[in-house]
Symmetry: D3
Subunit: 234 residues, 6 copies
């Protein structure tokens, strides 16, 4: 089961200049397909469905639980960025920067949650648990997790470039570092499970059952010879 | 932040006679609108967005964290109910009970997760985080939570009636008991916040701004006098 | 069955200064989870599934039908706020207020509906009928309805604060008044059904079947003693 | 605004032999993309957004309101088909017909609604209001409505063939008749608006702005001459 | 099966002055309900499910394949409109036009895809394949296709009016022309199948099974005589 | 742009004994998250958004186009499995195998599409394009593609085990072989791009910006010392 420490953050979260547009962008890191709800539930459901060696299950529990702390940090960051958001038509009517801010923010932050984070992405789409990938094959799942952390780190880097807020940059330095760790961790687990030699996944299907003319042959779908065949190691 | 204890269950989970149809039904308690993912995220997002007295935030953190343990128990129960599920056409072709079981189970349990739980409901709909209600008004949220626990307890009672498996009945006795506790807990918080006297929510809106002809008057939408007016205390 | 009066509004709707940003915000009151489509369908489906005393069913029909009139009023308000919206890049290119308006509006109002309301929320998410809560337990449903009206009234109050348009403020005064009435109405029905004494819902499940060690005990999920136990009436 | 008559059905609904599988199938007519919620909201939103001649808006209001009565009839039919549904594992364990029925029904009818209809389709997908088509062009909308009624009538015919229940067949005879009427009604409106001569929709766009080489020419996407060109009046 | 020509566009795509707001609007033509993914998959699924005369299936394959080329053109147009988009808070802080642009764009274009198109609509809603209408009745499907092309052409015309970019206007001239062709093509197929005489769809259901009192009668749902009956050819 | 060959299948599709339950399961390979629509659109959107070396874009176009042929094959297989499906209550009333088949099939195959495939998964959930992952980083995308093919191959293997139909087994031998090829192809591309040495993705973010105390350190979230630390290469 699970425990909390009364709301202490894993790493401190400060916002120097609140910006509701940045709050909207940060939502992607909470409820986006590369976000923290996704990795949290993905690792935990993989752990709960695990039938393989205990160490993978243990690691999934460890990191799945850490991801909850990341949602918590980001939810805090969203709320802080919403302080003082312009919410009245009258005031914004003639001030173009205020009007642009009012138009650019997720207006649900003002009218649905009273200035708090939601489990949605930067377009306001609620997170949908069909993105919780858990296949029952631990190697496939490790690949899936490494991929999730790769795109999660890309997102955090984009957010880092977008903001010039010292507090936000500091929080993102932390989250990017954790993404580095987790990305490497899942790649290491995948390697330990055989890495490339474990493919094709699932590796317990007898390949003599496959049609041998088709499993190691590149078939072009080019219309005709006018399209040069692609080259590469594949 | 959050912690785990290595996968110990809050209460033991046993299944005497696995039944994939019951596994499908149990999914409602995981990923249904009355399920544990919903209350877990709802209480935590309310906590993270909380701007009111610390004690409500603390309670939300406490119980939100407990709900994770309930997802864990139910995911375990689903996996146990899937043991030995009939997955081959040939075997099921002439045995009507096996055929009915194969047809009645969530076939994704067999082909998508290798016999593990998913964050979906009993119809296979993935949980969608728009059901995470967090309004920023603590009294409204307490009502919302009491309602979620009420329907959650109704669901658990229906599942209890559906099964004759001793292990499953025992697990449900535990979960129903916790639903009782949580339901009462949120009602108590709502009462502490003023209960009926706190309504209409939000209670800081000056009611003289409302149109006084319409806020305490029942208007019938009946077509004509042939429909008798409803009676009651409202 | 149902009837109409040729499109008369329940209360008049005027807009003094159209504002497409406000049109976007108003959409939450139509297609949001606290909006009028939700309460309309929720009350009607509860009525249609009702197996209890006729008076609750009657009231649900009465008010469910009234909610249709609220969708109608809000759809009218959205269309009126879209009059004269800036839709051409060229004109908006150098006028920051116009550019901010063009960027802040729901662009689908211009390119999908020709300046009319849609059954979506303020982020453009289509209303999804999984939010139509109808549990079959009339007390749980009354709580659910009171909650829906509470958050609906909160939304209307936020919209009231956001706008300085006299016509819109007048319409919202009406809708807030009706939310007050409906909120109180469902709370009264819940009280008539036993109120707190009717809990835990469902109240026909023999509580001796619950595990007695768990149904009236608060269990902390705090990591350790460093987290002070929450206090309160629960 | 809208009115009700206290729950009288537009046409009587009887079920001779309840069948929970048929209840599941009937849900498609309530919450499916061809179902009654869709046409109800579609006609009403078209009416509310109407800026053209009043008679189309009037007709949309008339028929949109009638569709509510169809949801009401079908919700009643679903509830009646759920009477006596097998809900206990023990009883169904050894009786293959009962087991097949338990597996084939929408189990949410038992555990989520206590034997009442839901706003979902036959696969349990909640109705999603993105299917409420309202383009602002009355001719396009009439086509859209004729299409919705065509597929709605196809669905009703399939349901008629599926059941041998006298009561259900009678109800479907009524609904199919209304689909005939409505399908013809929207086609007539489309004809009145110019029919084929009104196309291409929208007909107020100056066609000289189109690239003249491409708007009346069929371009094949066949790979090469081995695929014979399609023939027809287009 | 299918083939490509190495990424040649069906018609050239140029953007003179990139505009991320227009990129957001263009997304509707890719992933909106009137967009190219929808018609592409709709025509192909209709073709693959076709059991009628080969020529309709052939035409569906031809045009379904062409629609892929339209997605390709629009995806290219979105990417070109995103060149140079303002992505840094600091720069946008004091420049109202830049701030309005940053707020008005789909921020996921910056943080999720690195300036590329997504299969979403102008509000950022992912395309959902429930909009792929394929009923198995070829006449109903032709009506559905004509409707899809009608609203698709309306959308393209709105986009044409919105932009003053010469390159974009040229691309839209092409797409509008193709919409004209396709719209007429499906109407012609519908006519060939009997047109109005083929209705009511499905036309193989014996109409004597319908209740004869209800299939050619207009029933008003007006509350009373105060609402004048609608007039028209229906 | 794209081309077709008049509907020739990439590999022949035969069904010896139609089975509507297997048709339902096959839908996962069409519209599931591991299915062919997903990989088709994913590869094509990655190609269309590609800003890197042409060869990756070329390969994505090649294989994205091939995946369309797989949807086509599977749609054919679904339709063939639906031949002769039991659709009438009367016939199924007393025959348990027929009743189980009727209950176990996707009833929408009968009442919505007239026995044709839909773009949905095995639970009837429509495919949702948020699963089209395209991050703009080619290495992350290759990982994402390898993962999609891994779980796609797992699915095909489960379907292979489920069926004893000779024709279906043959088709799956082909599809599994292609999954092997594609899985290896994307892994090879990932290796060519640097493989493990390219991580953490994105590799152009200066790692000195990360907080150095957190990016290569494992932090346990275990409650206390009673949980043994996980071991492994990470
Ligand atoms: Ca993280
Ligand atoms: Ca619980
Ligand atoms: Ca209302
Ligand atoms: Ca109807
Ligand atoms: Ca097109
Ligand atoms: Ca494939």
């Amino acid at each position: 089961m699970f425990y909390h420490d009364g709301g202490k953050l894993q790493y401190h979260v400060k916002v120097d200049k609140p910006d509701p547009l940045f709050a909207k962008a940060l939502q992607q890191a909470i409820g986006g397909i590369q976000g923290e709800i996704r990795v949290c539930l993905q690792y935990l459901f993989q752990a709960w469905g695990s039938r393989g060696p205990a160490k993978y299950r243990d690691m999934l529990l460890e990191t799945g639980t850490e991801e909850m702390a990341h949602i918590e940090m980001l939810a805090t960051a969203v709320a802080l960025n919403l302080e003082g958001a312009p919410l009245e038509q009258e005031k914004a009517a003639n001030d173009p920067i205020m009007r642009a801010t009012m138009g650019g923010m997720n207006i649900q932050h003002a009218i649905t949650t009273c200035m708090a984070a939601m489990p949605v992405d930067a377009s306001g789409n609620p997170f949908d648990c069909s993105h919780v990938y858990a296949s029952g094959n631990v190697a496939a799942d490790m690949l899936s997790n490494a991929m999730a952390e790769s795109t999660g780190r890309m997102l955090a880097v984009q957010l880092f470039k977008m903001t010039d807020d010292k507090g936000m940059k500091d929080m993102l330095r932390f989250l990017i570092a954790r993404d580095t760790m987790h990305q490497n961790q899942w790649m290491a687990a995948w390697e330990e499970l055989g890495g490339r030699d474990n493919h094709p996944i699932p590796n317990n299907f007898p390949q003599e059952e496959e049609l041998a003319d088709y499993n190691y042959t590149f078939y072009t779908t080019a219309k005709d010879d006018s399209v040069p065949p692609p080259t590469g190691r594949w």
